[in-house]
């Protein structure tokens, strides 16, 4: 049932202009960023050639690009996810799902999967930019794979937050603002602590970059995977609970 709903969500996203416009504009921006870093790398190359164990293309082009992609996801996930449940309740179509008896958990999972699929397309397209360099040079594909996995988990967590925000309101724009605020709080949670030199406190554990960075350095650690899975689990559970409460007390 969740897959059925995810397919519908996917179809509806691409039937509306928002997803297309977002993908086009953001890819254009990332492509520009990519060309700038490629140009900078080409200028720097003669100097690097003489340095032992100098950073390569993966370090200087691919990873900065994926880091930029992560920042963009902070903004895109709320925009893609804001309508999932809020607009269905606003338009009255939610009754169709609620009356089908598929269960609040399945509804939330279906919506989330639909958003994740769309964000995965965005990540895949962003990855295609550095991968195109494979034609002329050797990339560290293992590191890129780890980074892609990290970005996907990161996007899945942001999608879950967006769907949860969407379950708490009937106004998509309010959902987007709440999701964006939550994303930014989680993104910057340990900024102050880091400034004070704290690197491994609980506050660092809460912050998103703490767990995304290791992936970008090619490190897949279970603690980071678990962090993202926990975030997804908590957000989706909250969303499903909210739908149950609405059924009983709205």
């Amino acid at each position: 049932m969740s897959l059925l709903l995810a397919r519908l969500e996917w179809k509806r996203q691409f039937a509306q202009p928002l997803a297309w416009v977002l993908l086009a504009v953001l890819l254009a921006l990332l492509a520009y960023f990519f060309l700038l870093s490629l140009d900078a790398y080409l200028r720097l190359m003669p100097k690097l050639a003489g340095t032992p164990s100098a950073p390569g293309v993966t370090d200087l082009i691919a990873l900065p690009l994926l880091r930029a992609c992560a920042s963009v996801l902070l903004l895109v996930a709320p925009l893609i996810g804001m309508r999932t449940i809020a607009s269905e309740r606003q338009a009255g179509t939610f009754a169709l799902l609620a009356a089908s008896g598929m269960g609040d958990g399945a509804i939330v999972r279906g919506k989330w999967l639909g958003v994740v699929a769309l964000l995965a397309v965005f990540i895949a397209l962003a990855l295609a930019l550095p991968l195109s360099l494979e034609v002329g040079t050797a990339l560290d594909l293992g590191r890129l794979a780890a980074a892609a996995l990290g970005l996907l988990l990161f996007a899945a967590a942001l999608a879950a937050i967006a769907v949860a925000a969407s379950a708490y309101t009937e106004q998509p724009i309010v959902a987007a603002v709440v999701a964006l605020a939550s994303n930014l709080i989680l993104w910057m949670a340990d900024a102050g602590a880091r400034y004070e030199g704290m690197e491994s406190g609980f506050i660092n554990y809460l912050a998103l970059p703490t767990h995304l960075e290791p992936f970008l350095h090619g490190l897949v650690a279970s603690v980071d995977v678990i962090y993202f899975l926990l975030l997804i689990g908590v957000a989706l559970t909250l969303a499903a609970r909210r739908l149950g409460v609405a059924r009983r007390h709205a």
């Binding site: 049932m1 059925l4 039937a15 179509t93 008896g101 709205a250």
Partner: protein, 306 residues
């Protein structure tokens, strides 16, 4: 052993924002019956139907579907239920056919079965010509039909329709009544409306809700038992009684109030009048029991409130 009713509401209440919208409602519905749920705006009809459909949970009381409590029955039971809310739940970006296939799958049909069910629903609701059109581009009437098609596509045992005739033109309303009568033969149907004529035309039982309480629940008296007739050349009462379909006739202002024999129809009466050459000017159903009951309940409540 007494058979289990398809739908049973026991002391069902619902509070919305501190106001008791539905108050201790009880009724039972069996297969093969069409129940008309009447009430003025704000009487609690939609809330009752939303609880039956599972969109809202009751604040108190139990709803049983086929003997099991709706609150704790999973998908399997709900597949036996089709629901058209007040506003048809349509996705404007989908094509009619796509949407109905989705609805069929949502209720557990798979692959070929979903296709066949969709084709049947398209034909039944007269949507064949627009099957490839986007729902958002359809006229209100067609959108409403698509909503009805979505409620019946999985052939549910119980069909719940919340004001299905809203936005339909007279021709479409008449087609809808025919469809509901047809559905009522195989399924149980609950139809909410504030059009008395809809109830008279397609229901065999009527329940009247007022201010959240069930004030009336009874089988519908046969329609058109009493007719209002105007003729050019007025005969005397004895001449009326001589007509085969007539049980009783009384002078009634400008015309006659004619009660038919149980097996006679309005068509028989008009044929008899024409055969006598009395010059038939007007023949219509009198404001029937249903209307009187409805107005009595609504106005009694208003008088109490005043």
């Amino acid at each position: 052993m007494a058979s289990i009713p398809l739908l049973q509401l026991q002391h069902v209440s619902r509070t919305l924002a501190g106001r008791r919208v539905v108050d201790d409602v009880n009724f039972v519905l069996d297969r093969g019956h069409v129940l008309g749920l009447l009430g003025v705006n704000g009487a609690g009809k939609s809330t009752t139907l939303r609880m039956i459909a599972g969109v809202l949970a009751p604040s108190a009381g139990v709803l049983r579907f086929d003997g099991t409590d709706l609150a704790d029955t999973p998908e399997a039971t709900r597949c036996g239920l089709g629901y058209l809310p007040e506003r048809a739940p349509l996705y404007p970006e989908l094509r009619v056919e796509e949407y109905l296939v989705f609805c069929a799958k949502l209720h557990g049909l798979r692959g070929r079965a979903a296709r066949i069910a969709t084709d049947a629903a398209l034909t039944r609701c007269g949507l064949g010509d627009v099957r490839r059109r986007l729902l958002g581009n359809l006229s209100k009437g067609y959108q409403q039909r698509a909503g009805i098609a979505a409620a019946i596509v999985h052939a549910p045992a119980l069909i719940v329709l919340d004001e299905p005739a809203s936005g339909l033109d007279p021709l479409q309303s008449s087609e809808l009544r025919t469809l509901i009568r047809e559905l009522g033969r195989e399924h149980a149907v609950i139809l909410s409306t504030h059009q008395l004529s809809d109830v008279a035309a397609c229901c065999d039982r009527v329940a009247i809700l007022h201010a959240g309480r069930l004030r009336h629940d009874a089988p519908l008296a046969p329609a058109h038992a009493t007719l209002h007739v105007r003729v050019e050349r007025s005969p005397d009462p004895a001449a009326w009684s001589a007509l085969a379909p007539v049980a009783d006739a009384r002078a009634d202002g400008a015309g006659w109030s004619v009660t038919l024999k149980p097996d006679a129809s309005a068509a028989d009466l008009s044929a008899a009048i024409v055969a006598r050459g009395w010059g038939l000017l007007e023949l219509r159903a009198e404001a029937d029991d249903l209307e009187r009951t409805f107005l009595r309940i609504a106005s009694a409540a208003e008088a109490r409130a005043a």
